[in-house]
């Protein structure tokens, strides 16, 4: 039998790529059950303790950092999504002075290296005299999230047939009603995608946060700091929990979409 390279190469490559991607996640997950002492590097036995008493270690420092990250993420996401959606609609629908310049300006935070952005913002806050705390982090996050929201929502607005809104107005809908019942529901998938992206970016951000956080500790910052003397297993617990939570959301979305498609196909 002739040996077919192509037949084996692709599955092998895929397998290796998957292993490469999965190893850190599996490692994190497995070591969240480690009965660790000072450091969480060697395996000392299986325990549920870290999952059950996640907020006890170091006076709850892990949980506090996690809580901060969630709070910052939520506030920055809401602010960035609201502002970004409005900007996106304005950029697509209206012609105004400095329109293309606005587009360029919104693109800059994505193109600028995070170190530069973080350091620049820190210098800015210092010279204006704003003390660094939660507020400065939220401001910084909102700023860079807006860019991503605008890009995401803009595509959706551009794909929206203006005749739909005209039809809404023609059918006795006032400006507010047309927005609430036609424009917004049709943009919603784009807005939700933008919000998810914003939250992920904010929750994940370390560099910009580190420059502008002052005494406030976020989850990425906590991990970075504790990495020097050994990350506690509680951090693994939270990281695993976040991963599982995200996985559940994705699976739920997929399943409900498949069910919907099936239902529609049945009707048609």
């Amino acid at each position: 039998m002739k040996f077919s390279l192509g037949k084996w190469l692709l599955p092998l490559y895929t397998l290796l790529a998957l292993i490469f991607l999965m190893v850190p996640i599996v490692y994190t997950f497995v070591f969240s059950f480690n009965d660790s002492q000072k450091s969480n590097i060697t395996w000392r036995g299986f325990t549920f303790d870290k999952w059950l008493n996640v907020c006890q270690v170091q006076n709850g420092a892990v949980c506090e950092a996690f809580g901060n990250s969630i709070l910052i993420g939520v506030v920055a996401t809401v602010a960035a999504t609201t502002l970004g959606t409005m900007i996106a609609i304005a950029l697509v629908r209206y012609r105004f002075r400095f329109r293309s310049q606005t587009s360029l300006l919104l693109f800059l935070p994505m193109a600028t290296p995070e170190v530069v952005l973080g350091a620049g913002l820190a210098a800015q806050f210092l010279s204006v005299g704003v003390p660094k705390d939660m507020v400065t982090i939220i401001l910084a996050h909102t700023m860079f999230c807006i860019s991503f929201v605008v890009v995401t929502v803009k595509a959706r607005v551009a794909g929206l047939d203006p005749a739909l809104e005209e039809a809404g107005r023609d059918l006795y809908g006032s400006a507010t009603q047309v927005f609430a019942r036609i424009t917004f529901p049709l943009l919603l998938p784009g807005i939700l995608a933008a919000a998810l992206l914003s939250f992920a970016l904010s929750f994940d951000d370390f560099i910009i946060t580190n420059f502008n956080s002052g005494p406030v500790t976020t989850f990425p910052k906590y991990i970075y700091v504790s990495a020097a003397r050994g990350i506690p297993a509680e951090a693994n617990v939270i990281a695993s929990a976040v991963f599982i939570f995200a996985l559940v959301i994705v699976i739920t979305a997929q399943v409900s979409r498949a069910a919907r498609a099936k239902r529609l196909a049945k009707q048609g």
């Binding site: 005749a163 739909l164 005209e166 809404g168 023609d170 059918l171 006795y172 009603q177 047309v178 048609g268």
Partner: protein
């Protein structure tokens, strides 16, 4: 329109001195139009003639640069789109993709807080025979069904005026015929005023009571379809609404009854009542189906114009009729439609033929076949540059 009540009947529409300019070009130069209540009015013209702009002005989706719009005697020029007793069937249908068919139809009723919107929506869907699909989404329907939903969504509101923006353009021929019939039936049943915008002359003629032919932002001629067809006033109407044979020449004799025109040496008589100009160079014409083809020179008849001899240069057989193109030296090509009363074409390519037609069937135009455009075409360097620039900008932003 106040909420909670329907328009009692169709209302008449009046456009007074409407002008609409966009950056770089003029869509409507000057438009006066009155459409009586309850009529089916078609605005016919080639693309870019301003007909869709006219419709959008009436719907309130564009604001006129100058002029007034009156619906049922009320000035609505400054009213917003949602305040006008007008509904539109959009060219793209513009059905809301996130709502069911039923919710689409009930949308207008709910906005105006009309009692029992669901029952009324079902009733409208029954009228277009789609009630069994009420719970579907628009994207699950065929083009023809979507079109009927769009129609139901508009008429359920019983607007004083219903605007149709080439809604049949996307349908195939058979479906289009069905919808034309359906529209006409609905119009007769509910008694609304219909304003139908189309570039399809056949559609306009079969459906409308009154047709206005629009060209370059102006109405060239307005009247009943038969009147427009049999007695076109301008060369544009003569050629856009069906086909015409047009001749230009000086008037060589005129009586109170008729004028005779010298067309490259051949005398053609047109009734004075059917000619707009009686002196000087005039353009006259006759419809191709009014011509009779002769294989021998016909005997003189005072009631008929004779033209020829010429040579047949093209014969195309289309079942019920045959179209001949005859080249007459000094005059050019003439089109003849001959009913196929006997088997096959009677003349062949290269045959020498004469043509004759009843004097009563000729018409004299107001303008010349080669007349200058009615108003200056906006093709100055500056306006072209403006248009280019704005289209480029749109393109760039889309990228």
């Amino acid at each position: 329109m106040s909420s909670g009540e329907f328009a009692s009947a169709g209302a008449d529409l009046e456009l007074v001195g409407i002008q609409k300019r966009f950056p770089g070009f003029t869509a409507i130069e000057h438009l006066d139009l009155k459409i009586p209540a309850g009529s089916f009015f078609a605005l016919l013209g080639p693309s870019g003639c301003g007909k869709t702009t006219t419709l959008r002005l009436v719907a309130g989706l564009e604001e006129p640069t100058a002029g007034r719009i009156l619906i049922g005697g009320t000035d609505v020029t400054n009213q917003k789109s949602f305040q006008r007793p007008v509904n539109t069937v959009f060219q793209s249908y513009a059905l809301f993709p996130h709502m069911t068919v039923l919710e689409n139809v009930a949308f207008g009723l709910r906005r105006r807080r009309i009692g029992d919107p669901v029952a009324k929506a079902h009733e409208a869907l029954r009228l277009v025979e789609l009630d069994h699909l009420a719970s579907r989404r628009p994207q699950q329907l065929s083009g023809g069904q979507q079109q009927r939903v769009a129609l139901a969504r508009a008429i359920v509101n019983r607007p004083a005026l219903l605007l149709l923006d080439e809604p049949l353009g996307a349908l195939d021929l058979k479906l289009r015929r069905q919808m034309q019939l359906e529209l006409k039936t609905i119009q007769e049943e509910v008694g609304l005023t219909f304003l139908h915008v189309t570039h399809d002359q056949e559609e306009a003629m079969t459906m409308a009571d009154t047709v206005a032919v629009m060209n370059k932002g102006r109405i060239e001629q307005m009247g009943a379809p038969e009147e427009l067809y049999e007695l076109p006033r301008t060369a544009f109407v003569a050629n856009f609404l069906g086909q015409s044979n047009l001749f230009t020449g000086p008037v060589v004799g005129s009586t109170s009854e008729a004028i005779s025109v010298d067309v490259a040496g051949q005398k053609v008589v047109v009734p004075a009542a059917r000619a707009h100009r009686h002196t000087g160079e005039v353009t006259i014409g006759v419809r191709p189906e009014k011509l009779t083809l002769h294989l021998t020179e016909p005997v003189d008849d005072v009631a008929r114009n004779v033209m020829g001899p010429g040579h047949v240069v093209d014969v195309s057989f289309s079942g019920v009729s045959t179209q001949y193109i005859v080249e007459v030296p000094g005059i050019g090509n003439l089109i003849v439609f001959a009913q196929n009363m006997a088997f096959g074409p009677v003349a062949h390519e290269g045959s020498e033929v004469w043509m004759s037609w009843n004097i009563e069937h000729g018409f004299g135009l107001e303008d010349d076949a080669s007349a200058e455009p009615r108003f200056e075409a906006d093709d100055t360097t500056r306006s072209i540059a403006t248009q280019k620039r704005s289209s480029l900008l749109t393109e760039l932003e889309g990228a």
